[in-house]
Amino acid sequence: MKHRLTQLLAALALGAAVSLPALASKDVVIAIDQNFTTMDPYDANDTLSPAVAKSFYQGLYGFDRSMKIVPLLAESHVVSKDGLVYTLKLKRGVKFHDGSDFNAEAVKVTFDRVTNPENKLKRYNLYKNIAKTEVVDPYTVRFTLKESFSPFINTLAHPTGVIISSVALARLGKGIAQSPVGTGPFRFVEWKQGDFVRVEKFAGYWRKGYPKVDTLTWRPVADNNTRSAILQTGEAHFIYSVPYEQAEVLKSKPGIELTASPSIIHRFMSMNTQQKPFDNVKVREAINYAINKEALIKVAFSGYAIPADGVLPRGMEHALKLGPWPYDPAKARELLKEAGYPNGFESTLWAAVNNTTWVKAIQFLQQQLGQVGIKVQVQALETGQRVEKVESAKDAASAPVRMYYMGWSSSTGEADWAMRPILASESFPPRMYNTAYYKNDAVDADIAKALNTTSADEKDKLYADAQRRIWKDAPWAFLVTEQLLSARNKKLTGMYVMPDGSFDFNEIELK
């Protein structure tokens, strides 16, 4: 107490001396490498926009820093035996920024909006399984699903699954994307296109004593050097991402702390299993043996990654540790000989993204494959090319993709979305991204069954079986799991990058 008093006196004295306000307002600036597209999470296809929208919106559930599900606006839920009906108890006494009450009606209006295809929202896909949303009483809501779907609570916890004020929605319609009204810790102030989004503390926030800062400014700053410069000048308190080549520079600056946090971003190289020579499992195994993952991490990720030790990234629920796949070029050559390619073969290797890190990675892979006699031509695809050549390919037989270096992060943070879109046979392009054109009926069955079961044990068994089979079939070269690099001013605490590249800033504070 005494300490605080002296602080206050000191602040007052300082205020009097230089005529600054006695209690300086706490403004935090966060600079991010991409631009946000919309302030309506249901219409956002990126990770960043909903992450920023968490300043003013909240969902019924959410993820904590380690991607564990925590209730936010919901208190608890009950699932019916058939897994089709979810009844949720809601938190009482929560207000929206426009003063209206948070209740079951708001939940219903929000989900009716996204599940109606007429509204053409980009996240329709994620919520279309909801058949209806009903108000049981003002603080109880009931979701009925079309098909049972065990990770439904994960879907609700997805950063896009936020509750919008029904009053504001009725008033603004589509304009809600420009003037969001939610229950979050901050109230939306201004979105200056290309410059910043600013939010201010919401006095009526239901978590007492929060937030601990007065305003938050989110700035999209695309240029790597500029982002690092504004952290050093103090114009930003937190930057994400930090390019690998700047990591060492920032590490050495006083007052700045560099953080490498775990991610669920998996990097792998898919091999078109329907085409020669990749239809032979020995060839696919050989390629896995041919790549030195540790060296790849040093070359392309400056050490900020870990070798992939399974089909699912480490740390994800149901992830099974199966690897990493050992580096053994001699064994690779032997396997190639057994497969009938004693002198190797020629092929192509594409990367899904064209930037330095990706180009370095495929060049390294090219070199490693060359060591065992596989000569590949490499090409990093620009976005449009990628959509054209890989994602829009009509069928498996004519798809031009062979080896394809890509990444995936499950946006709902759970196993289903980390496997189904990239490994189930229903997900061949152009539907989804199974660029290995991998088809294993047992794996398909495991994934489908796991969706329908409500028993956690059963689910664990099914996913373990699927992962073992996939690892054995090796439709990919399993490479690395990335780490996320961010840097902050040491005065800032409570700001975290989550494993999916979103942010946790509930405890954000500026000393």
Partner: protein, 306 residues
């Protein structure tokens, strides 16, 4: 003169028309499906179809062109595919920062560049010329992103005198304006010098000197005015380029202008925004050319327009 200007303004319409047709075609020829891009990595075919329908991309190309064209004639450029806001608002918000930055860069660089050019021409092959042209050549050769980063490192990071990003106060304009204007100043200096040197060898200059006029009057009144025509042309061109938003400088200083908007639009295949921006840039060039032509008449009264 007024008649001429009106005539030119009418002549502008067919040019814009051709640009509109070309840009529509080129944009739709770009590889990549915008619906797929807009729907995002998690979308299934059904959602992509929804998005495609919403963006009007499911209709045949000629039909899309007709609707784009008729709406454009009514001054409606559609909505951005990325943000769903009207393209006109999207561009209007970004245009002012670019315009202000362009004006501030052009202001100092034209004055400095021309003075440098005049001094170099007058003291041709003497040390002021050598210094001036050395500066000018470095200005042209130094890439603007490198200059931007250098200035930022010195004045923002090391000395802490100036802000790095944003466009809120006059102090925010200093570094980007210096970066953007450096090349312009250099070009202006070179052009002024070359043109002035040429004019100074003409007969009428000798006559003026022979009349006993002061050297200062000869240079300022007789030579400079005649040397201005190519300089003004160059000035117009540079102005046009800068108004298009210097992509590099806008990215380095995170300037909320049209250059960055164009980059974002191209990477997400935001057709309506790309089309409107290219049309806007063409219009700017045509208008600037018109102004330059009018200036010719003012500088040299022997030029007459009909």
């Amino acid at each position: 003169m007024t008649g001429y200007i009106i005539k030119r303004l009418f002549g502008l319409l067919p040019t814009l028309l051709i640009v509109a047709v070309l840009v529509f075609m080129f944009v739709h020829l770009l590889p990549g499906d915008p619906a797929r891009l807009a729907a995002g990595p998690d979308a299934d075919p059904q959602t992509v179809a929804l998005v495609r329908q919403d963006l009007g991309l499911d209709r045949p190309l000629p039909e899309q062109f007709v609707s784009f064209f008729t709406r454009m004639l009514h001054g409606d450029f559609g909505a951005s595919m990325r943000t769903r806001r009207p393209v006109s608002t999207e561009i209007a918000e970004r245009f002012t920062p670019t315009l202000l930055l362009t004006l501030s860069s052009m202001g100092w660089s034209v004055i400095l560049g021309m003075s440098l050019g005049v001094v170099s021409a007058v003291f041709r092959n003497q040390w002021p010329d050598r210094v001036g042209m050395a500066v000018a050549v470095s200005g042209i050769s130094f890439p603007s992103f490198a200059l931007g980063m250098l200035l930022m490192q010195i004045f923002s990071v090391q000395l802490g005198w100036l802000p790095t990003i944003g466009a809120d106060s006059w102090r925010h304009y200093i570094l980007p304006s210096l970066t953007l204007g450096a090349a312009v100043a250099a070009v202006m200096a070179r052009f002024t010098r070359a043109s002035l040197v040429e004019v100074m060898q003409e007969d009428f200059v000798r006559t003026a000197r022979a009349k006993g006029l002061k050297e200062r009057t000869v240079i300022a009144k007789h030579c400079l005015r005649n040397a201005l025509i190519p300089v003004v042309t160059m000035m117009g061109l540079q102005f046009g380029f800068l108004l298009g938003g210097s992509i590099v400088v806008e990215v380095v200083f995170n300037w909320p202008g049209v250059g960055r908007l164009l980059v974002d639009a191209v990477s997400t295949r935001d057709y309506p925004v790309i089309q409107a921006l290219v049309l806007l840039f063409s219009l700017e060039f045509i208008l600037i050319n018109l102004i330059v032509d009018v200036l010719y008449g003012l500088i040299n009264p022997t030029i007459r327009y009909h």
